[in-house]
């Protein structure tokens, strides 16, 4: 069952990501990005990261992606677009680089097998036990508010800076 679901959502994510890249209409790209993100949220649940999956839906799909759509519509890019996929030389370059990257990453994944074997005793069971003991949210929240408190607080500053920067950049000049 898990394998089935993994294959389903993994395939869905890959396919819709492919469409994001190839779709001519930016709105279509955005909507297929939604599918990719949702499929990844499902994969996160399968991988015992329920809290992150919920965040994925709320933050990524609910906030970031909506922002994308909002900007597309604001700029009237939803129609009368020009095809913007680059010509053949760029496709060859992209293909070559992508192929090389995939090969290298695939090779890089090899050590992960031995990692799993080495960590066999503290495999998914340890994480599941932790989540059962503290709750799915508590497992993430406890280190976040203890060991990672300072970075966590810093993110609030980052967000504040992001808000100010976005306002400053996007507002019309009043002069």
């Amino acid at each position: 069952m898990e394998t089935f679901l993994f294959t389903l959502f993994g395939g869905l994510a890959l396919a819709s990501a492919f469409v994001v890249v190839t779709a001519r209409n930016p709105v279509a790209s955005a909507l297929f990005l939604l599918v990719t993100l949702a499929a990844l949220a499902a994969l996160f649940v399968l991988l015992d990261a329920q809290f992150i999956a919920v965040l994925q839906v709320i933050v990524y799909i609910g906030a970031i992606l909506v922002l994308f759509l909002f900007v597309i519509m604001l700029l009237n890019l939803g129609y009368a677009y020009r095809p913007d996929v680059r010509p053949l030389p760029w496709r060859l370059v992209a293909g070559g680089v992508g192929l090389a990257l995939v090969i290298q990453l695939a090779i890089a994944v090899q050590p992960a097998r031995s990692l799993r074997e080495a960590a066999g005793t503290t495999g998914p069971e340890a994480l599941v036990a932790l989540q059962q003991a503290k709750g799915v949210v508590g497992a993430v929240a406890e280190p976040l508010f203890s060991d990672y408190l300072v970075p966590f607080e810093l993110t609030s500053i980052l967000l504040l800076v992001g808000i100010v920067g976005a306002l400053l950049l996007a507002k019309r000049r009043l002069d």
Partner: protein, 677 residues
């Protein structure tokens, strides 16, 4: 006030009295006067008192040291080391002063004559706008000269050596607004550089052979480090002598000294007569051990000295500038000194240096007094003739009545220079001539005898043309010629007295009718002991006979008669002749013209050295500097950078996607490296 550290003396026994202050006082004077020149050039009170004052104090300290040396009978040099100046591996040089009998004699001459000249300058330069600057330079000069004579090692001596060269340049070109004077300063500096090069090479060689540059170590090690007459010591001393030739204006590097007369007259007296030019003689005497070990160099020193003496004297015969005659006479007398130290008669050379300082400073200052009087007289009648016209002997004559004191003191100097008994020059010059003859150097001896006659000739001509005969100064100007102020006359009188008595410090025992006195020789004997031992071992005792027979006394009388006769004859003849003023006088003809034109040496140098160097410089400037260095190296590398930059900037397309590709390629390479590793 700066408190000088006085570390423990190197040798026990006699202690010098405040040796550091001898040198330090003129330096302080320089700083004070220099500050005055910069801050308040119009205020004359500070330079007037500080300038001569520091030198006077220095003189008193030197005098105290001299008295205490005489009292204690101290023969060994005392070295005062103040701080380590250079330390590199085995090579160590301290800023050290050496007080011994030779350096104290030199310091006495320097400070004593300088003091009188400083006092004289108060009057002579009183109206000059650069008054404070003048005294600053003068004090600085005395400082460097004292560093030179009191140095305890060659590098410190070299500091003084270069320093006096610098001050010489500054003072000759003191009136730098006039191109000829600035050029004269430059000439002195450049010609001195040639000699300094030789001096430096000599120092390097000395260090290479003896492993030290301290006087005491070098001279102690020299007899072991060098074999007598070997090529090494000969070449080393030849290089050192090249330095002496430059500094002391000997053939072929004498040309700067006559031009140096463009400076203020007291400067000519101080630098180009009494002190700086004697540095070469001092160096040969100081390094007497080295020169004694190199008979060839010593012979060359004597030969160059005798030749220069004759050559310069011959030029002096036909010069008409009141200062130029004395300038050539200085070169000639320096030649005598070199002839003396070249045959191993070091004390005699230094003795002549000592007496010469008196009468040559006197002659220059007297000339200055004449110029001063004439200059003011011309100014009174509202005319401003050129400097050359004022100083031309043909425009003088008969000034004896207007300038009686100047005339008498100048005659005292003239007689001393001519070597007339009982003036100082007689004793010292006679001793040198005799020493050269006693070595069996017949030709040099004859040359020096001839030169003595020539000296009498030109100095009599000089004095007679200035003070005697019919006056050639226009009547209205003549009435306004007055004696210089007291502040200038007192130094003249003191120097005249010195010219009269200084010779009596050392009366050669061979002279007839006179008591033999050898105070000066005895005093310096410990300094030259080592060198004289070497001479004795290899060249033997001085023969007490002249090369052509007759003893010292006989030849002294002959010399005296010769000089006296020439002097008197010339005096009578010049006084009696009606001379034409310079403007109407024809240029001398025949041989006299050759002398008047100074053997065309300046023209020869110009033709064969100066012009080729200038032409080569032009080539170096245009082709090598502008073309190769500026063009190829500097601009070329700049252009190459620009071209490379331009080519590389083509990679910066500004297209973000291209950059992304570049980043990705970089990531792939790094990833491959990480995986491969």
């Amino acid at each position: 006030m700066v408190a000088l550290p006085e570390p423990a003396a190197a040798g026990a026994g006699w202690e010098p009295f405040l040796p550091g202050w001898i040198v330090l006082l003129p330096l302080l004077g320089f700083l004070v006067n220099g500050a005055a020149a910069l801050l308040a050039p119009g205020r004359k009170a500070i330079p007037t008192w500080v300038g001569p004052g520091v030198i006077g104090l220095s003189f008193l300290i030197v005098l105290a040291n001299l008295v205490s040396i005489l009292g204690a009978g101290a023969a060994e040099p005392v070295v005062r080391s103040y701080w380590t100046w250079i330390a590199a591996g085995d090579f160590e040089v301290a800023a050290a002063l050496q007080i011994d009998r030779l350096s104290i004699v030199m310091a006495l001459v320097v400070t004593g004559v300088s003091f009188l000249i400083h006092v004289y300058s108060v009057g002579y330069m009183g109206a000059d706008p650069g008054y404070a600057r003048y005294f600053a330079y003068l004090n600085l000069f005395v400082f460097f000269m004292l560093v030179l004579v009191l140095a305890a090692n060659f590098p410190v001596l070299f500091v003084g050596w270069e320093g006096v060269g610098l001050c010489s340049y500054l003072l000759i070109g003191f009136w730098f607004q006039e191109p000829a004077k600035a050029a004269a300063g430059l000439k002195a500096f450049i010609v001195n550089r040639i000699g300094d090069f030789g001096f430096l090479v000599g120092l390097f060689m000395l260090f290479a052979y003896t492993g030290s540059l301290n006087f005491q170590q070098v001279f102690a090690a020299a007899p072991q480090a060098f074999t007598y007459g070997s090529a090494a010591i000969t070449i080393t001393t030849l290089f050192l002598f090249l330095g002496c030739v430059g500094k002391s204006a000997q053939i072929p590097l004498y040309v700067w000294l006559p031009d140096a007369m463009h400076g203020p007259t007291p400067v000519s007296a101080l630098i180009h007569a009494a002190t700086m030019v004697t540095a070469g003689v001092y160096l040969v005497a100081r390094a007497s051990v080295l020169f004694a070990l190199a008979p060839f160099t010593s012979g060359l020193v004597a030969g160059v000295g005798a030749l220069t003496a004759l050559f310069a004297a011959s030029i002096a015969l036909q010069q008409f500038d009141i200062k130029r005659v004395i300038a050539y006479s200085t070169i000639s007398q320096l030649g005598y000194m070199f002839a003396g130290v070249g045959v191993g008669a070091y004390a005699a050379g230094i003795f002549h240096l000592f007496t010469h300082a008196f009468f040559k400073a006197l002659l220059f200052l007297a000339a200055g007094a004449v110029i001063h009087g004439l200059h003011h007289a011309w100014a009174r009648v509202g005319k401003h003739p050129t400097e050359d016209e004022v100083q031309d002997l043909r425009n003088m004559g008969g000034l004896r009545d207007a300038l009686p004191w100047t005339s008498w003191t100048a005659w005292a100097g003239a007689l001393a220079l001519a070597g007339i008994f009982p003036f100082a020059g007689f004793f010292s010059k006679d001793e040198i001539i005799w020493s050269v003859g006693a070595r069996g150097l017949t030709i040099l001896w004859a040359v020096l005898l001839l030169t003595a006659a020539l000296t009498a000739f030109y100095v009599a001509r000089w004095a007679a043309m200035t003070f005697s005969g019919e006056t050639r100064v226009p009547g209205d100007v003549r009435r306004h010629v007055h004696e210089a102020p007291t502040v200038m006359m007192v130094p003249l009188i003191l120097l005249a007295a010195g010219s009269l008595v200084a010779g009596w410090l050392n009366v050669a025992p061979g002279l007839p009718f006179l008591p033999g006195v050898s105070r000066f020789h005895d005093f310096l004997a410990p300094v030259f002991e080592q060198a004289e031992a070497i001479w004795l071992a290899h060249a033997g005792e001085f023969e007490h006979v002249a090369p052509v027979g007759g003893d010292e006394g006989l030849w002294a009388i002959v010399t005296l008669a010769l000089a006296g006769g020439v002097l008197y004859a010339v005096f009578l003849r010049v006084s009696a002749r009606r001379l034409l003023p310079a403007a109407r006088a024809p240029e001398p003809s025949g041989f006299a013209r050759l002398l008047y034109r100074k053997w065309y040496v300046d023209e020869l140098y110009d033709r064969f050295i100066v012009r080729p160097v200038l032409r080569a410089s032009d080539v170096f400037w245009r082709v090598v500097d502008q073309g190769l260095i500026d063009g190829v190296f500097v601009n070329g590398s700049g252009a190459a950078s620009r071209a490379a930059g331009w080519a590389l900037s083509r990679l910066q397309t500004g297209d973000v996607s291209t950059y992304v590709v570049a980043v990705l390629v970089g990531v792939l390479i790094l990833l491959a490296a990480a995986l491969g590793g």
